[in-house]
Symmetry: C2
Subunit: 210 residues, 2 copies
């Protein structure tokens, strides 16, 4: 009988192989058989872990959320960076770069794929709100933030950032971005109840990213 | 040759018939032929106006946005209501009740239908931001709102309200709603730069709606 640990390793092997195949060949073009060949397991073993190829994709999306969460956490523990900057950098670092994972990104944002996009959004919001709870509470105690509903302020900031900048829900023109980013940072200041202009330092940073 | 007006009437007849059929029979179960029978036109005439059944659905969604915009506008002209209350009531009135239009609501929110949901969201945001421009400017001039980016504040409020309360993106539990609404109104006050507690009057109203 397999130990829990072996079982987790096998599951991870499937996910790693599938992710590589989805990127290289594309999600649609990858079959469960392709995955089996690389991991060298029987079909039954695959179906012991996942009910379908699309369930594998769901699991990869959750891994992407977790990877983002870890990037965010590693920034949040760096006490050499001022608290507010750390929080903003953590939020930015969380956004999946999808380095080399274009295929998965396309899949998530595909017009037909509300389910996957919602899964990513909901899990990202849940995980990041958890992670940011502590630094936000710290900021309130230090008198940097003035908010009554820390969880909901964070939820709102994450949601707005995602919809506006990752999902491009407004279809803004490229030339509008500097102003939209400025307005977004202004609104984040309001939602956190910071002094005005506290986030000005990020204007330049965002400016360089675009 | 048909006049522009006749052409517009014919188009509206198709939309009205289709909407009724989508509600009564369901979108999937309605065929273009069903629509033709009611409007009593030839197939060619239908395809002169719409490329497909799904294009008819798109047009219905735009009509729904427009209907919401009109409800909002009719509230905004009522000067007997204080400005801030008028704005909030207009935003609430805009939300499609989808009275008797469950089928279309289901269609919009269907897991596979990102395209339609995005179309609704984008058009609603565009139209409502337009409508709210004037009262928001008025509020700034009267010193009720203190904001530097009125358009973007409105965009943020509409987007948050839609994602949180119409789309249920967080999957909140029923018992969490009172607190979530309180937090939302608190954040709306921040985004508009009003005095604290200005929106408390809406707590009761929302409380009754849930």
């Amino acid at each position: 009988m397999k130990t829990v640990k072996e079982s987790e390793i096998r599951r991870q092997e499937i996910l790693v192989a599938a992710r590589e195949l989805f990127i290289k060949k594309g999600y649609e073009q990858t079959s469960v058989n392709d995955i089996l060949k690389i991991v060298d397991i029987a079909k039954g073993t695959f179906y012991y872990y996942f009910a379908s190829k699309s369930e594998v994709l769901d699991a990869i999306v959750l891994d992407i959320v977790e990877e983002g969460a870890r990037r965010a956490e590693s920034i949040l523990i760096d006490k050499s960076i001022p608290l507010l900057n750390r929080i903003m950098m953590a939020i930015m670092a969380q956004v999946p770069e999808f380095e080399g994972t274009d295929e998965i990104k396309v899949e998530i944002h595909k017009v037909e794929n509300t389910k996957l996009e919602r899964l990513y959004l909901r899990e990202m919001l849940k995980r990041m709100t958890q992670i940011l709870q502590k630094p936000i509470t710290e900021g309130i105690e230090l008198g940097i933030f003035h908010i009554e509903y820390p969880t909901e302020s964070i939820e709102s900031i994450l949601l707005l950032g995602h919809m506006m900048f990752d999902c491009d829900v407004f279809h803004w023109k490229v030339e509008d971005y500097p102003m939209k980013i400025k307005a977004f940072l202004f609104n984040v200041e309001k939602l956190l109840g910071t002094k005005e202009g506290e986030l000005d330092v990020f204007l330049k940073m965002f400016g360089q990213m675009k």
